[in-house]
């Protein structure tokens, strides 16, 4: 997993609440058996017109927003389906950081597996970040747990284990396999009614 420490980037605000993973990546794109290539389908139904052309009104299609790496959103981002394709699509499009009011639990976990950092900040702070110009950058400092926007620093909380995982880019399975003996020991203690 790609590590994240300090990141500077431009933003895209999508301030709707409850953006569900069906919107982030509609089901017709879940049939692939790879983890890559979903970025071109990110927010497909919002992003493209019925004839397949990009909808010029949708912010992801705005010329001046291309290259943005930070998504600013509302409450309960990533709710609904557990599809990790949502995290893969956001990452593949180029997003490294999401700043929202809250996240669904499953989507949050999926982010921790893919190096997409989900930050929680209050609406006040997000409104300011959503209002800056397309070319203006904000800075996310994970080690010191703050987002800096127009000279103002906003502190965020994150569980220390997930924080270290993002900073180190750790592979979970490698870590867990170190506990193989403990897992075996646990399995030997399980009741059996067969």
């Amino acid at each position: 997993m790609e590590a994240i420490t300090v990141h500077e980037g431009t933003t895209i605000p999508l301030m709707n609440n409850n953006i569900d993973t069906d919107q982030i990546i509609p089901k017709q794109f879940l049939k692939n058996i790879l983890k890559i290539g979903y970025g071109k389908h990110l927010f497909h139904d919002w992003r493209f017109l019925d004839d397949g052309r990009p909808d010029p009104k949708f912010i992801l299609n705005h010329e001046e927003r291309q290259g943005a790496t930070i998504l600013i959103s509302g409450e309960n981002f990533g709710c609904g389906s557990s599809r990790e394709h949502a995290a893969w699509a956001l990452k593949d499009w180029g997003f490294k950081i999401i700043i929202a009011g809250s996240y669904s639990d499953i989507f949050f976990m999926n982010c921790t597996k893919n190096g997409v950092l989900p930050i929680i900040l209050p609406l006040e702070a997000r409104k300011k970040m959503a209002a800056i110009s397309p070319k203006e950058k904000i800075t996310v400092d994970l080690p010191h747990q703050f987002v800096e926007c127009q000279g103002e620093k906003y502190h965020f909380d994150i569980d220390s284990t997930w924080k270290q995982k993002f900073i180190n880019g750790t592979d979970d399975i490698d870590v867990t396999l170190n506990y193989s003996d403990k897992i075996t020991e646990f399995e030997n203690s399980l009741p059996s009614f067969s």
């Binding site: 069906d22 049939k31 867990t176 399980l190």
Partner: protein, 458 residues
């Protein structure tokens, strides 16, 4: 201080880790389907890893399968995904209920039906409706594909212990009001994220009286309230349901004795409690584009509260203050992991018997599994549905998520027994209205929603 059902289950499964930090939790049962598993198996292959406990893993095909002609998958990418699951299960030694198998069906219907789901377990699946299995007194939750890979390789998962919320359901439901209405009413009252960060436990005299099928419908939609886990304590109803099923414990009495330790000592042990009286509850229907945008059938649609409501009204092509019963219905869908079990089909058949669908209404009835289909046919339900003008189909997820050929056409208002009314969920620009099986069936007869508590409507 006592412990909750959830605390007891959690403690039984911690392999390592301190409270307050992510802990490594053992997984008793891992259910797998074709959509969220291929990348996980590929990850194992690339890293030369094996499945740690194939005998604790069970796979089926449900999301992609066509339900009109189940053996004829025309979409080559869907076919590839189906074939990939077969190859992966063969290579890694995993039991698979494939298309045509007697055990095939929606993953959350077949787990309980086969007796794989049992009290006291931890159950995961790469699907958010895994909470369904919590109805048996287990910790059951949906996971992403990276976590699927992790569980395949290690039979365990890192999780932060959530807080607990007890939802006290009390009172007797009126005739015509169902378990589906309870969970829809809870979400309409408390919102789509009231359960985020919590494990929900539903308890009380209302729950005690519910069948396992109805309990599953409630736990199934815990995720629609933001909680990835919803559970209920196991009781005699649970034990009776499991007895005699294919993978039920052989030493049933011993198992029951073990399962009986799993209950909440006192409501005071929850981090939070919600009281919910169901005795005056009306049937609910959804009008908008998330499950909290729902109202009792007897009421009018709400004001436009904010930009999210405006967007929902535009998408659904409805207006504030119109009567909920005036919403026109051109399609009905009965099925899914929420309401695709035999009891749900019986309920729908009870309403449809001797009636015919309104002119211009199309109806798809999709049993949750091959077994449900066979049992329904033994009871003659298929005849009732067909005589009413409905299509009787093969088992699968079908139009609940529409990633198979079953899609609701654009602009159509579909009364649906499913769990999500998101934009495009049942087909691009399709307009979903969630409701109970009886309410959906009655809407099919009338071409609009009706209050099934009123005798004259059926």
């Amino acid at each position: 201080m006592g412990k909750t059902l959830f605390d007891k289950l959690w403690e039984k499964h911690v392999i390592t880790g301190k409270p307050g930090e992510p802990q490594l939790i053992y997984i008793d049962l891992h259910l797998v389907h074709e959509v969220t598993s291929p990348q996980a198996f590929e990850g194992l292959r690339v890293n030369n890893r094996r499945v740690r406990r194939p005998e604790r893993t069970f796979a089926t095909m449900d999301h992609n399968v066509p339900t009109k002609d189940i053996f004829n998958i025309q979409d080559t990418i869907s076919l590839k995904q189906i074939e990939t699951l077969k190859t992966n299960c063969d290579e890694f030694g995993i039991r698979l209920a494939e298309i045509g198998s007697a055990d095939q069906g929606i993953v959350h219907v077949i787990g309980p039906q086969l007796g794989l789901t049992q009290p006291g377990q931890t159950v995961v699946c790469g699907d958010s409706h895994t909470a369904t299995h919590g109805a048996f007194g287990s910790i059951a939750f949906g996971i992403g594909t990276s976590e699927v890979e992790h569980v395949l390789a290690t039979q365990s998962i890192w999780q932060l212990k959530p807080k607990t919320m007890g939802i006290h359901l009390h009172g007797k439901l009126q005739a015509g009001v169902s378990a589906k209405d309870i969970i829809m009413a809870l979400i309409a009252t408390y919102g789509v994220d009231f359960g985020t960060g919590y494990a929900l436990e539903f308890y009380g005299d209302t729950v005690d009286r519910l069948s396992m099928e109805n309990r599953m419908s409630i736990c199934n939609m815990a995720i629609e309230g933001g909680a990835k886990m919803g559970m209920m304590k196991p009781d005699q109803t649970t034990f009776e349901y499991i007895k005699g099923r294919k993978y039920a414990p052989k030493k049933m009495e011993e198992a029951i004795k073990y399962w009986q330790q799993f209950y909440t000592d006192s409501p005071a042990d929850y981090d939070k409690v919600l009281e919910f009286d169901v005795s005056n509850l009306a049937p609910y229907i959804s009008w908008g584009t998330n499950p909290s945008m729902s109202v009792p059938i007897s009421s009018k649609l709400p004001d436009i509260a904010d930009m999210n409501f405006q967007r929902a009204y535009d998408y659904m092509d409805l207006k504030p203050h119109m009567a909920a019963s005036a919403i026109p219905i051109q399609w009905i869908f009965i099925g899914s992991c929420t309401n695709g079990r035999l009891a749900d089909l019986q309920e729908a058949a009870r309403v449809l018997k001797g009636h015919h669908l309104a002119k211009n209404v199309t109806a798809w009835i999709v049993p949750g599994s091959r077994t449900v289909k066979n049992e329904a046919e033994k009871l003659g339900l298929d005849k009732i549905f067909k005589e009413a003008g409905c299509e009787w189909r093969d088992p699968g997820c079908s139009a609940c998520l529409a990633m198979n050929p079953d899609k609701i056409p654009a602009g159509i208002h579909c009364a649906s027994t499913t769990n999500r009314n998101f934009e495009g969920r049942q087909g691009k620009d399709a307009r979903t209205h969630l409701a109970s099986p009886a309410m959906v069936a009655a809407a099919g007869i009338h071409g609009h929603f009706v209050d099934i508590r009123q005798k004259e409507v059926i």
